[in-house]
């Protein structure tokens, strides 16, 4: 299979910036149409059409327009943007030039999580190199199009990956999400029209411009065109980042890419798209494919492609405990249902895991979760814990009940791996 995103990994990117020749012969409107036609959907979690989002930028705006590359990558299970930045940062920069040209942005920022210091250095060097070769700065390749790209380092807050929190952080304050609407495309950074796209979304653009929307659409399924980087971790033999064609069956992915479940054990469950989405049982997972529609039909999401696997010895209560701990730690605290809810969920699951759970705790977990969801909060972070909670408690109910009945964790002895 010809790959789109990882084709230069392990070899220098000889064709870097080749798409720009073609780009500057197109009008921005043509670029937007081409990207719409490609069916490219956001790879940052929500799967929204990139071209459609760009089209929301007001046509007659007098304000500056900003492009932001979201490289906050902090969701448990997700480590694929990092691979792009480390192995082919020019693909991302080239993609940013394309997006900026399409929307009319002359300043773009890469919001990179603070912990990624090495990656920050790599991208910084790549930006310098690109500028030295005339791909950034004034009048790029004689096109009269100007673009400057700067990196903005976060400082350890998962919520800053949420696009409006990112804007708050970029502007120099706490990373607080903002109520939508207004959407960033209308009123984003400093009140100006702003497009936020994920690293991987942007990195697909050079291929689309070079080869056309039709070539891109040959990959994948009807509603999920192209390929997807899947970052695979947990109980498998070969963790890593793999580029797969959208629509690949999960079973094939686990067996052929991940080298199967480790230690010859059986699969108990897996999360296909990052910790913010419901878990799948083994039976469910092996009927699902790696694309947006198949994952959605199974009640979960391809999300960011943060794929992690749990073998048959995994305590699912503890799994949920660790998931809840993350959300409790990362809630920005602005909304009561989220701030309190993430804390309660965390405490209740902990008490069940430690053998102090009560019969009514299971229902309590579901009730608290229901109270956190569906628009009761400023952003969907609260849903991102509530949905997984409901999935673990309903799909692995027996395990939760057993903890309560025994007054201890039946898996304690298998903790040391």
């Amino acid at each position: 299979m010809e790959l789109i995103l990882s084709k230069n990994w392990g070899a220098p990117n000889r064709s870097a910036y080749a798409s720009l020749q073609k780009l500057f012969k197109m009008t921005p409107a043509q670029v937007i149409e081409e990207v719409k036609a490609s069916g490219l959907r956001g790879r940052g979690g929500a799967g929204f059409s990139a071209g459609v989002k760009w089209g929301f930028i007001p046509k007659d705006t007098k304000k500056p327009i900003y492009l932001i590359c979201n490289f906050d990558e902090s969701e448990p299970g997700t480590f694929k943007d990092r691979a792009i930045a480390e192995k082919d940062p020019h693909m991302m920069i080239e993609g940013m030039i394309i997006a900026a040209y399409a929307i009319g942005a002359h300043t773009a920022y890469i919001y990179i999580r603070g912990e990624f210091y090495k990656q920050w250095e790599i991208v910084e060097a790549a930006l310098k190199e690109a500028a030295a070769k005339g791909f950034l700065g004034k009048n790029i390749l004689g096109s009269k199009f100007d673009l400057d790209i700067y990196q903005h380092r976060g400082a350890g807050a998962y919520i800053c990956g949420e696009e409006t929190a990112l804007l708050s952080s970029l502007e120099g304050g706490r990373g607080y999400p903002r109520i939508k609407p207004p959407f960033p495309a209308i009123e984003g950074a400093w009140g100006c029209p702003t497009i936020v796209n994920n690293v991987e979304t942007l990195s697909n653009l050079p291929y689309i411009i070079n080869n056309g929307a039709a070539a891109f659409k040959k990959f994948g399924t009807e509603k999920s065109s192209g390929t997807k980087l899947i970052s695979a971790s947990g109980h498998i033999n070969k963790p890593g980042v793999y580029e797969v064609e959208m629509g690949l069956p999960i079973r094939t992915f686990v067996e052929e890419y991940c080298g199967g479940v480790w230690k010859g054990r059986k699969l108990k469950g897996l999360v296909p798209g990052g910790s913010s989405f419901p878990v799948l049982t083994a039976e469910e997972a092996y009927n699902v494919n790696l694309d947006f529609e198949s994952c959605a039909a199974a009640g979960t999401s391809l999300g960011s492609g943060g794929f992690y696997v749990m073998d048959e010895t995994t305590c699912m209560v503890r799994m949920l405990q660790f998931t809840a701990k993350f959300y409790e730690h990362e809630s920005c605290g602005q909304c009561t249902p989220c701030r309190e809810g993430t804390g309660w969920v965390s405490q209740i699951v902990k008490r069940i895991e430690e053998g102090n759970g009560r019969d009514r705790d299971l229902q309590l977990l579901i009730d608290v979760s229901n109270n956190m969801m569906n628009g009761r909060t400023i952003c969907v972070f609260a849903d991102a814990l509530a949905m997984p909670v409901i999935s673990y408690v309903t799909k692995f109910r027996k395990e939760f009940e057993e903890h309560v009945r025994l007054g201890k964790c039946p898996y304690a002895s298998t903790m040391v791996r």
Binding site: G173, R174, F326
Partner: protein, 157 residues
């Protein structure tokens, strides 16, 4: 102790001012410069930035406390941050934490008496495929084993 940027950082600060349409946006990058210069964000450095950026001390303090990576007090020379989040736990990060605690004879959140090491546990560092893993200052150490941890700690002494 008074705080002032060293000339190199003052130059970088001026450079950052050109990157954003509003001064306030330089706050995060400026805080990073402070931390690079002295290892933590002291009250005096916040006063200093307040003047440079026309912000109130309270605003800067609020911002600093929101972000986990800005050190609110001086910490050991080597800040060990073990990821103990979902996917690292699946690959044994709790044992990693226990091993390091034992080797350094400190609890999580403590600094060794010689001030060389400070131990924290953190949430996902975007390195789940090479778990268990830790970050020490700016560097990631991945696919950890007990032998590897010994070697790393020895080399950092």
């Amino acid at each position: 102790m008074n705080f002032e940027f060293i000339p190199e950082n003052k130059r970088k600060f001026e450079e950052y001012l050109k990157r954003y349409p509003q001064k306030k946006a330089v706050l995060l990058p400026a805080l990073w410069l402070v931390q690079e210069q002295q290892g933590w964000i002291s009250p005096e450095s916040m006063e200093y930035l307040a003047k440079l950026l026309d912000l109130s001390h309270a605003y800067i303090y609020e911002t600093v406390t929101f972000y986990t990576m800005y050190n609110k007090k001086p910490i050991g020379k080597h800040h060990i941050q073990v990821c103990n989040s979902v996917c690292c736990w699946l690959r044994g990060s709790q044992e990693t934490v226990e091993q390091i605690k034992k080797k350094l004879n400190i609890e999580v959140g403590e600094t060794t008496t010689d001030k060389r090491f400070h131990l924290s546990t953190v949430e996902c560092l975007g390195s789940c495929g090479t778990a268990p893993m830790m970050q020490i200052n700016n560097d990631y150490y991945e696919d950890l084993t007990e032998a590897k941890i010994d070697k790393i700690l020895k080399e950092l002494k």
